[in-house]
Subunit: 430 residues, 2 copies
């Protein structure tokens, strides 16, 4: 691009209509002139060719994405990551903020993803390394979406869970167990104080555990647990499947007694989740397969914060995400950014409940609560409940005992002397 | 895991039922014992906890994914890519082949993706860096899918394109132009010899170019071009949109005269494409936004070969992909691997037409044809047709002239003296 052409892709943010633009924050590593690279980033995601041959016209003023901020942070001798084909020249590390007129694609998730994570982002000339760090949406855009049906407050009211975290448990063995003993494990955990017994994200509708039968068994067990304990219990069925089965499976499992459904968000697709949201009569819970493939590296791909915001926008009430500690290979500030993406103000869109997970148990609750700084989260052990030496009832009880210690301001370890379940959990998982 | 536990996740491939397993090839960088890491990779994608507490049972023989090959290639002082949190210890670079019993998830794309690109791949203890390089599917699995409706032979018969590449062109300006002048550009290009005039992947159904009106205009222009030229012409409409609009948009544009539809595969979701395939009455064409976010780095994420195979499996007749040359930042062997993934034998699944693209024109056709070594591909310029100095008719003509030179065994440059369109293309884009 010539210098004149480049100028057509720059603008001052205050001169643009705020409601008409998404704000995109990218970190790029670029060869050559950073202004030219940033202009390409804007051009390739919008009006790559802005006039017809031999016609005096310019589609950039109305339709081009515009660079509204460009800061060169440093220059590196080469890209942060070796590439094939190799880029063997110095690169400028830049923060680029782009204002993209969303009328180009409308309030549609697939079309927005195509713009912000498409050829514009990953094939802009001179930008071999790029990460989309954040998106800000104007209310005019957000108002086109339903978002979570319940939100955190709605879930608390629905399930009568107040002033404490939501206790989830992944029924284990996750794969291979018949529906009947699977339901017995759920019942045992509910009796011990679990709120939500859930299918593993890998367990959906296999021949050896058809979801129709499994949801009947678990639905009956859930009602029995509610009668015994006098409080609401939740069976969270994983209805992840081909898109044209989602609504049908939702209807089946809900009529059989499941009172929440899980969808593996990216494998099914965010747009399919948005479709399901329009029909769903129970809370929607997201699980995170595939996301790490595009978010793990600090400087390439897309930040999990963005994908968390999009899951909330698509209508998930709960977002399960990689949590704290070395087990889940995710930096603490990234986990906190994803939690904030669930709960921070987002125009008319309700908050989603964040569930940072990964090898949790009564031994990790204090740490997780401490990092989040409040009770608005879900806690999702698997083995920590279902691999507890005293079984799922003991495993679930150990969570509630650990929480009671935290609520009482007592170190969890101290409280272990009162409860064999908690003592066993700390001993086994601590 | 203990040594005994690890052994339960290993098997000899010849002892497993071939039809019951997918074969997954991963490259991993692991800390500690490679056997333990590989066992975790298998365990986390299948039976993470393989028995109940206090029950003598083992779900691994039937349900566990098994390591069937493990080769340590080298040891590096640290991971290929700096991570947060950092992994500051030596890592073994290994190739791991895993046989995964697909009855665990059935012939379902979202559930398969959850298994092979989920927590198992990206959160297996001791494996901070991993890339899924390939998947082999047994016929028993492939037979559950429709795959491409036409395949390359079917497209050639349908569109009467024989013994040469398929000439696509992306109508430009891609964003901002009203339907009427947009159709005039398509008509001009068809007159010059273009086969398929297509919407840009960023142009779908915006207010200023409603797809219903655009497809009416382009449908009429296509029929006019067919009357004038006496050969079939194709208008490829981009129906990328929210999942619950796909079938409706397909029906609208086809009844208006579009005779092929494009879907941005990952933004919409492969499963939604599979759903559309069941209803579609015209060829389905894939575009590639988002894919690079998880495939660009040589040693992390997933290889594009895998995603190409999955697009074919989902039912795309044509797969547009990043092509040759430095513009598209993709190594030549990767492009060739993706082309092979479209065309190589795949049980009962028909071949898809590969369209390696990126800043093409008459000046790049010889190179692309040379690398592919035959005419079974699509060629998809944008500016090379619609930014040609003599307009789209001249741009399209320059492609056909370049092809005639290649078919005649004459260097394209030599042939330019005969044709002003070809000469202008080489001069402008060469």
């Amino acid at each position: 691009m010539h210098a004149d052409d480049i100028a057509g892709f720059f603008a001052e943010l205050p001169r643009l209509a705020a409601d008409a633009h998404l704000l995109l924050d990218y970190r790029i590593e670029c060869t050559g002139d950073p202004r030219a690279a940033a202009a390409h980033l804007a051009s390739e995601q919008s009006t790559a060719q802005w006039r017809r041959v031999a016609v005096d016209e310019d589609y950039r003023p109305r339709f081009a994405a515009k660079v509204v901020d460009l800061e060169v942070e440093t220059v590196l001798p080469r890209t942060s990551y070796p590439l094939e084909p190799a880029v063997d020249e110095p690169v400028s590390v830049c923060r680029v903020r782009i204002a993209h007129p969303w009328a180009n694609f409308g309030p549609r998730l697939p079309n927005m993803l195509s713009a912000v994570l498409g050829e514009g982002a990953y094939f802009a000339p001179g930008i071999p390394v790029v990460k989309l760090l954040d998106i800000e949406f104007p209310n005019s855009f957000l108002e086109q979406f339903d978002g979570p049906k319940y939100g955190i407050a709605g879930l608390r009211a629905l399930w009568q869970i107040h002033d404490r975290p939501f206790f989830f448990g992944v029924i284990k063995p996750n794969i291979g167990l018949d529906p009947e003993p699977f339901a017995e494990l759920g019942l045992a955990a509910w009796r011990g104080g679990l709120d939500i017994a859930k299918d593993d994200e890998m367990l959906a509708d296999p021949d050896w555990s058809p979801i129709a039968e499994r949801s009947r068994r678990l639905g009956a067990a859930r009602r029995q647990a509610e009668r015994e304990t006098g409080v609401p219990k939740v069976y969270l069925a994983n209805i992840t499947d081909e898109v044209d089965r989602l609504v049908e499976l939702h209807d089946t499992v809900v009529s059989n007694g499941a009172n929440a459904v899980m969808v593996n968000a990216l494998p099914v697709g965010l747009s399919a989740v948005r479709m399901l949201r329009k029909q769903a009569r129970v809370p929607l819970i997201a699980h995170f397969p595939v996301i790490a493939a595009m978010s793990r590296l600090p400087h390439f791909g897309v930040h999990t914060r963005v994908l968390t915001k999009l899951q909330r926008l698509a209508g998930f009430d709960v977002v399960i995400m990689p949590g704290f500690g070395p087990r889940m290979m995710t930096a603490e500030d990234e986990v906190l950014a994803c939690i904030a993406a669930c709960t921070e103000p987002m125009g008319p869109i309700r908050p989603a409940l964040p569930v940072p997970g990964g090898s949790d148990s009564a031994a990790t609750l204090e740490r997780v609560h401490g990092r989040i700084g409040g009770p608005d989260f879900g806690f999702v052990p698997g083995r920590g409940v279902f691999g507890h030496p005293q079984g799922p009832t003991g495993g679930a009880a150990s969570l509630r005992q650990a929480w009671q210690a935290i609520a009482d301001g007592v170190p969890v370890k101290e409280r272990a002397s009162r409860h064999t379940e908690l003592a066993a959990a700390l001993d086994t998982f601590g």
